[in-house]
């Protein structure tokens, strides 16, 4: 295992797009070569070393390469985009599109993460230890099919559109969510351990959503099917009693998804 340590040193007055920062691109390169890889700031490309100090060489393959980003990079976008293997550890906050369309490997963000992490991802894992913004694990604009595999874990809160168009894989939110969590999902699993504000599972045609906390505004097109307790989805356990709903009957598509909401926290439903 080879560690490449990037320490933010540059001027991030404008956001930087650094899709080049993946184990796939770093593998087989020396620290020097990695520093020469190009990133975008505005309409021009600059060497990575203008923004980060680079320490350590890449491993022989992506699998053997770990990238450690030693600092906050909320204004650096697309870290880990399209990565297939290896590991990225961000010891701080990460910018938009982190792990976008990744197919393998692991990303750990110790701080918060901006919107669109894990868009259209097909495999691998993203673990955000802080909070996340919008569109986590969501499909791109206009697409009805987003993430198909892998796992995203957010220890804190996420805001809106979590897992839009999810077709496979899992998203686990330790905290709360706001709007449209699981909008139009057709497969996969979303677990929200905290509360949800509204429109959970809107337009869903498949897949499963579990809400452990309270849903403030329930989505109208769901029908109660019964009560189940101690849910288990492979290694994911959701203890307690849950009301089981199917829906969304607001849309004509034949497929329906399953929505579990905690009995304790949603007495009025």
């Amino acid at each position: 295992m080879a560690d490449v340590i990037l320490k933010p040193t540059g001027n991030f007055d404008l956001t930087v797009e650094a899709e080049v920062v993946t184990p796939d691109n770093f593998a087989g390169k020396s620290a020097d070569e990695i520093g020469k890889l190009l990133v975008w700031q505005g309409p021009a490309e600059y060497p990575l070393s203008d923004y980060f100090s680079v320490e350590g060489n890449g491993g022989s393959s992506a699998e053997d390469t770990t990238i450690i980003i030693d600092g906050d990079i909320p204004r650096v976008k697309r870290i880990g985009q399209e990565m297939t293997a290896g590991k990225i550890l961000v010891k701080g906050c990460a910018g938009m599109h982190t792990g976008n369309t990744m197919s393998g490997g692991d990303i750990i963000v110790e701080g918060d993460c901006e919107s669109w992490a894990g868009m259209d991802m097909t495999g691998g894992s993203i673990h955000i230890k802080g909070n996340a913004k919008d569109h986590i694990g969501c499909a791109y604009r206009g697409s009805w099919k987003g993430m198909t595999g892998g796992r995203i874990t957010v220890d804190g809160d996420a805001v809106s559109q979590v897992g839009g168009g999810l077709a496979g894989g899992e998203i686990i939110i330790g905290g709360s969510v706001k709007h449209f969590c699981g909008i139009r999902i057709n497969g996969g699993l979303i677990v929200v351990k905290g509360n949800a504000f509204r429109t959970v599972g809107a337009e869903m045609t498949g897949g499963t959503i579990v809400v452990g906390g309270c849903i403030e505004r329930f989505t109208p097109g769901f029908a109660m099917e019964g009560v189940e307790s101690d849910l288990k989805f492979n290694d994911i356990e959701c203890p307690g009693e849950y009301k089981k709903f199917t829906g969304d009957y607001a849309i004509p598509q034949k497929g329906k998804g399953t929505l579990y909401v905690s009995c304790d926290n949603n007495e009025c439903l």
Partner: protein, 584 residues
Amino acid sequence: MAGTIAIKNGYVYDPLNDINGEMMDIFIKDGKVVTELSGADMKDVKEIDAKGKTVMPGGVDSHSHVAGAKVNVGRMMRPEDHYRHYQKKTPLAHSGCGYSVPSVYLGGYEYSKMGYTTVFEAAVPPMEARHTHEEMRSTPMLDMGGYLVLGNNWFLMRYFKEGDLDKAAAYISWMMRTHKTYGIKCVNPAGVENWGWGENVGALDQANIHFEITPEEIIKSLTELNEKLGIPMPVHLHANNLGHPGCWEITRDSLKIPKNVKAKPNTDVEWAETKKNAKRHESVYLTHCQFNAFGGTSWRDFESGVKGITDYVNNADHVVMDSGCIPFGDATVMTGDGPAIHDLYVLTGHKWSNTDVECECGSGVLPFEYLKGNPVHSVQWAMGLEVLLYVKDAWKSIMTTDSPNGGPFTKYPQIIAWLMSNKARQDTFAECHKWAQDRTDLGAETREMDLFEIATITRANPARTIGMSYRKGTLGLGADGDVAIYDIDPKSLEVNDYESIIRGFENAAYTIKAGEVVSQMGEIVAIPEKNTFYSDIATDEDAEKSMLQDVKKWFKYYTLGFERYPTPDKYLANPTPIQVNAEK
């Protein structure tokens, strides 16, 4: 010297001049084909060595959806179609994006890279003509024109009902001039008006609501008037019931309606020299035959109905048609046939856009993906090829995908490969749902088209059909200096290696427009001037006057004032009127 060029030693395919792969030189001076260049010309001429290459007239697409309101609806509603398919700007070329519905710059470049120089937009709603022209004006690399949608026009339906064909004729010629369009498009006659109430028509003799006119009457009147007016192209007909199992019968019956209408295109133009008669003799041009040739009675017993149509066409002289092939993959269906797209929405539940245009027509748009594993789609793939292979005389058919309905025009090279190589077809059968074999006869078809036939169905015949062969689709003396040179050596071409056909047609070695190299092996190297053609039909002044009185009176049903209705010249790139002489 701009527009002057010598193309040496290529294998030339010029079907209108019966030139079938002869090694010869092509000379172009000042943008036009000439027999030779003088010594002075030769001194600073650009010379292209086309040895071992295929030389054809620039490609002509007589049916594509590349400009206008509904195409733009497709672009606007499909960011997911664009974000992975883009092109960066270059010092010369604009950037763009979009796979099945590319932005205009990208669309123009992509056509040019494939050797095309002329593309006609197949559906222009009159009220949206300014929009269509804006987009055509911005589309680089191509000479263009558009067909005016008239099959459900209130004014015409009322004139037809009242039997006032003189005023109808005056109206059509006024509309062509007003909106700077080229020919007549007729989409689901009588049915689209019914869609204004959420209905359709299902039979040729079914009268529509209120206007009480039948598809048959509309087809008959439009085809007759088309010839009375001397319009360069036949009526472009999109028959009723499109996309419904069993629709092949109504299509065949629709084709029978104008069988006694004699073609009389009458234009004041100078004709390039051709050995063959370059004028059309057909009174109807059936569009996207495949979509109009569904057999069976339901999706369960769905099958190809192509034979029913091609049998008729093989024995008729008044029909020409384009195929509407399905190359599989992403597409965006878009048509003036609003109810047909509603039916697709009911079937798929997908994103669906619809725009009905007051007093005139309508349209629908829906994203679509054709899958090899889908039984119906696999049959449709085979049907599109059946259309082209079963029509014995290549001069009766035109290769299209009804882009982007069957798939984007960028898939043309793939279609050519299927037409030229039985092995290509058999290999695809192996990947398809078995319905492709079971519900069509394509599996047994062994015909392999040669380059001469490909040149016929991709340039010579589209140009001839729409009356543009006076300057397009041929390399005869006086023709436009539009040439495509493909890196395909006919002498060593092995059709079993069909990938080489695809590669060869995907990126022309050279695309030459008006004697200037505009793209080269997939690179845009020059942005040429372009022309926009339209029919300027001379009409009887009195008839026009009394017709306009009616039009102004009825105009209150529009939400746009009469004064603001026309399409001014400024919306056209090099407006090029073609003088058309109506029968007196």
